[in-house]
Symmetry: C2
Subunit: 330 residues, 2 copies
């Protein structure tokens, strides 16, 4: 086996989030898909930005957020994703590297610009995301560093990036590279619309034994399995993926790993913005997972990270996550 250089290497969208407080009347007036993630084109993004209040910009991207959490917890990480040669691209690259994450994917020189996600946060702390994928959706397989993938304990993939064609091909190749090196592949389903479009791919990857760790929330589990009941959904998958992690928002999370099962409640906090809750749950869980911690402990780490991220705006951690773990878990 290649020498291990990373705990987790991830492939994901390289996005800057543009976040603003909003209200339900605005969500309705703009016909937004409240609580969901909707893809928009450049014109759509412009239109929505004009309708948005004063905002702040914070690096985002689902898998990139997970790595930011992992790196803050002390894991060694690398990110693969594509930005354009513009200010948002430099912001994204800065933030990921400043978090101690290796990031060497070449910048794309041509149009379109770096991906942006316009996020409307309502008073109920729900986030409504509208993503212009920009340069991110053209991540070529040639940009993969297969040696780095072979050198990581876990290859982590976000479902969002399965939608555009080029990154999908890149991710398939990355899965092969990880497998050849005897590494684990972790996958997050991301969003129901992705499962609606690519559920057959995901079911095939699972049937082929190519996914070792699967992250889903309750709705995504239902979309993938066709079982709206949580237990039925779990039953449909538990023998097909070695590690299954199902998050249920405020109701907590359940995981199954090789015959073992654990459930934890969510960690109480004042919820300000739910953006990144799943991403940071995955960060905490994976941090325990790569350290071969007991399943319940992995889930607890996930719940602690998720609680931190929803207590403030933005999907990148602000608190000292290592201190938080020490405080909460001793």
């Amino acid at each position: 086996m290649t020498e291990t250089r990373y705990d987790v290497i991830a492939i994901g969208n390289a996005i800057v989030d543009i976040m603003a407080a909003s209200d339900d009347a605005t969500i309705e007036r703009l016909s937004l898909n409240k609580g969901g993630m909707t893809l928009v084109d450049a014109d759509g993004a412009r239109r929505l930005y004009e309708a948005m209040g004063p905002a702040k910009e914070i690096s985002g991207g689902s898998a990139a957020n997970t790595l930011a959490g992992l790196a803050a917890l002390g894991a060694k990480c690398a990110f693969i994703g594509q930005v354009a040669d513009d200010q948002f691209g430099r912001v994204f690259a800065h933030d990921i590297r400043a978090g101690g994450i290796d990031f060497d994917t070449p910048t794309r020189e041509a149009e379109p610009p770096t991906a942006q996600c316009l996020i409307f946060v309502t008073p109920d702390a729900q986030r409504t995301m509208n993503t212009f994928l920009g340069a991110s959706q053209y991540l070529p397989a040639a940009a993969l560093d297969e040696q780095a993938i072979a050198a990581a304990k876990v290859l982590y993939l976000e479902g969002y990036l399965w939608d555009p064609e080029e990154p999908r091909a890149a991710m398939r190749r990355a899965i092969d590279a990880a497998r050849r090196a005897g590494r684990e592949v972790a996958f997050t389903l991301s969003e129901v619309f992705v499962i609606d479009r690519h559920g057959d791919d995901f079911r095939a990857l699972i049937a082929d034994g190519l996914i070792d760790v699967l992250f889903a929330n309750h709705t995504e589990l239902a979309a993938l399995t066709g079982e709206s009941d949580l237990e039925a959904g779990i039953a449909a998958l538990k023998d097909k993926v070695p590690t299954l992690v199902v998050t249920c928002g405020a109701e907590g999370a359940t995981a199954l790993r090789k015959g073992e099962r654990a459930t934890v409640p969510s960690v109480a906090t004042t919820v300000v913005d739910t953006t990144g809750a799943g991403d940071l749950f995955a960060a905490g869980f994976l941090h325990g997972h790569v350290a071969r911690e007991p399943l319940e402990r992995c889930l607890q780490r996930g719940a602690i990270c998720a609680a931190e991220i929803i207590s403030h705006y933005g999907a990148r951690p602000e608190a000292d996550l290592q201190a938080l773990m020490a405080e909460k878990l001793g």
Copy 2:
């Protein structure tokens, strides 16, 4: 007199703040001027950005922050300042307009990029600012909308922008336009280094009776008057400016207006980031001032706004300032 369209029109730097948590060791290692504002060139900005942790981007600029506060309080405002044709320029323009502020200064097409301020926030909530002025420092007098200036009750100028040559000429012309229209001119001294370089200009403007409302903190007052004692500094200016406002951080603020004098304590809050404290104090004060409120009430509004801004990252208000005023002042 021209019909009044605005309560306040301001000329200032059009800046996007890039803010990150830092520590005193970093401030020392980078030889930064803790608590101050230092101008940096493009290379300096690049070097500091590389040394900075994961950041967030929030529109800034001293006078622009003041207008954001004023507009949030319900005042009618317009901003004059120059951005470049880039993503940060679009962010700045979006945020100011989304706050309900008129902003029609043409975008500058050439290099350099939009102004950026790299802000290191230490655990003591102090902000250390390093500003690359970019397009902002080339604001031409031709960009002034003199009709808009004539239509505003108050022309508000930030001292920071007195430093570069073109905006200084533009501001002199703006003062003339305001005076011809019988309007008030308000000026904030911004920073000691500006007074060190341009104190003679400021003293001449004051001697010529061209400044109606002067904002200074204790240190700036000392630099301008040569009197380190607060009362001596006040005594040196009180007969030369119709309204003098002196802020003393946590010790509160004092104002003198045509024989009247008032002092208020600061408003207690959990201080997270002092960026924008003076800017938002000016917002609250001016909101009362244009409504011809008693001097003490103007200061109270300033203190409430300042407390809001230092309770979170960034120099743009997050709370509902009108609701806050109603709650605190009844």
